[in-house]
């Protein structure tokens, strides 16, 4: 192994914000160049000294943010008796997490698994489709002059201000005359439109895809579709992932649309299923399944939180693109 490769590898793997453990000057090797640089620069307005009081105050917001999630994790380990007898932010004597998960997945002939699969279907078809439409539409708005372009944009942006619920009743009536209610289509089709996603892709494509590059491709005789797939799409990737993330969270968390469109529990997404269990637990004579609601809630957020954390750096670019435009 030669040294350049190892230093590059270790520098890449070491987190950038890792100050050297001791205040002593690190040994003068290439590897610690980063930390020496961090240490040697005096604190200026651009590189201020971290402040303990500020961290503590912001820490209050952090505690407020994480407290309900901690409560959920702790209480997913309790059975019904544990829920009633033990302190809410600490574990009961015995841990029932595994038992709870098994019961959640098997209760009522495994209806929870069915809801999970429905949710996955709605997310893959709905969010996937929404992303495709937004990318194609945004690219067209940014890079092609066509009659009606400005009108399309104005109407779509105007539509953002229309409350989704104002559309719900007429959409429901329209879909029921078409015979679409109570089918997956009733949830998937409305999910295909993301005005925010279109706007984001339009802003992103305008900046990320140089028009000269498209012109050069045309002169080289590349067709429009081929130019899009081979040249524009790779450049649009970061924006595409951002739109996909927003659409995924929106469809995974959707409640109002399926609530209106779906009456058959077999087609419920997870959100409606949890709501139905909660309704059952609150009615007199219904089986109180609070332990299942809590464990089911945890199982509902785990996948989306994992995706969120894995792809969290992409949120930034999308929201930045949305906010810098004056």
């Amino acid at each position: 192994m030669t040294s350049p490769t190892t230093t590059a590898a270790s520098a890449a793997s070491a987190p950038a914000a890792e100050p050297s453990a001791s205040g002593a000057a690190p040994t003068a090797s290439k590897r610690s160049k980063r930390s020496t640089r961090r240490k040697s620069i005096p604190h200026t307005p651009l590189n201020p000294r971290p402040s303990i009081p500020l961290t503590l105050v912001t820490g209050l917001v952090l505690v407020y943010t994480l407290l309900p999630l901690a409560w959920l994790v702790v209480n997913a380990t309790k059975d019904q008796n544990g829920l009633l007898d033990s302190f809410g932010l600490w574990f009961a004597e015995d841990v029932h997490l595994w038992d709870n998960i098994t019961r959640t997945l098997t209760y009522d002939d495994g209806v929870f698994v069915r809801w999970l699969l429905n949710t996955l279907l709605y997310v893959v078809a709905g969010a996937g489709g929404a992303t495709v439409l937004a990318v194609l539409g945004g690219y067209a708005l940014a890079k092609y002059e066509f009659p009606g372009r400005k009108a399309v944009f104005a109407v779509v942006i105007g539509a953002v201000a229309v409350p989704g619920t104002a559309l719900a009743v007429p959409t429901f009536l329209m879909f029921s005359t078409m015979g679409l209610t109570n089918t997956p289509w009733a949830v998937i089709v409305p999910s295909l439109i993301s005005p925010f996603g279109l706007y984001l892709m339009w802003v992103f494509a305008a900046e990320a895809v140089p028009t000269e590059l498209l012109e050069a491709a045309r002169i080289d005789g590349s067709g429009e579709l081929r130019t899009f797939f081979r040249i524009a799409l790779p450049l649009l990737m970061p924006g595409t992932v951002t739109v996909l993330l927003f659409s995924m969270v929106a469809t995974w968390n959707n409640y109002f649309l399926p609530l209106i469109m779906i009456k058959d529990p077999d087609w419920y997404p997870l959100t409606l299923g949890l709501n139905a269990w909660n309704a059952q637990a609150q009615t007199a004579g219904g089986e109180a399944v609070f332990d299942l609601i809590i464990t089911g809630s945890l199982l509902t957020i785990v996948p989306i939180v994992v995706v969120f954390l894995l792809l969290q750096r992409y949120w930034q670019s999308g929201l930045a693109a949305g906010s810098v435009k004056e």
């Binding site: 009633l84 539509a159 104002a166 409305p190 957020i301 930045a320």
Partner: protein
Amino acid sequence: MTLLSTRATAAPPPRPRVRIRLRKEALVGWGFAGPFVAVFGLVFLAPIGYALYLSLFKDRLIGGTSFVGLDNYGEALADPRFWDGLIRVGLFLLVQVPIMLGIALLVALAVDSGRLYGRTFFRVSIFLPYAVPAVVASLIWGFMYGTRFGLVGNINDTFGVTLPDPLSPSLVLASIGNIVTWEFVGYNMLIFYSALKVVPRSLYEAAAIDGAGEWRVVTSVKLPAIRSALVIATIFSIIGSFQLFNEPSILQKLAPNAITSDFTPNLYTYSLSFSGQQHNYAATVAIVMGVITAIIAYAVQLRGMRKG
């Protein structure tokens, strides 16, 4: 650049005349935008048109459906149940939105200032609730508010006190405000933080050289620089407040006496349509609500974008 390798094997065609080029470009542009526009027409424009159409008719038990002109609108504007809900979300908006945006702005400034230990951890964690479905957020908080196995019950038992019930009719609106704040503080924080990130750092250096303290930099440099982000976040929050539905709808099961079927205009629309089968009147209330939302959002935008 990979351009050279993607060169087509056929000889490049002679450059067409400009008019033909333009027509072709229009076709291709519509080809790309077409799918979005078609589905948009189906799920946005058609329902809006249909709602307008529905709002002009009435379904009577005797005589069936008949055209009534603007009667439904008159009825909606004189409907105390509609006004109750509207005033409630108006109050919610005036209290909850400033609190939420204020906290979001403070956290964004703190993260951006570079004076936090573990800033990435702060940024990601505080944004995390955005990924939690409204159903789950409402259930968690709803249980925590409860006296049976919630935190409120724990505190009462431990200290022998009786805290006011967060799910009582007088407090339930504030409790909903807390849930919405928890869900969206991080989202708004990220909007502000993203805007702060693109402010040229040289401005801060210049301000420091001019002797501006940290607060002065915030008020005179940072806030004006992220003005448009502040306006956008305010507009989104206003629209969200007027559309308040998910949280009260889910808490309804936990607090049936506190949350009535006309608690917010959206709950009212929902119950009119799906419990009462009054589709025409429900469509009218929804349109009135949409118009009010659009007017207020537009007014905020004009006010916010005015250079003043």
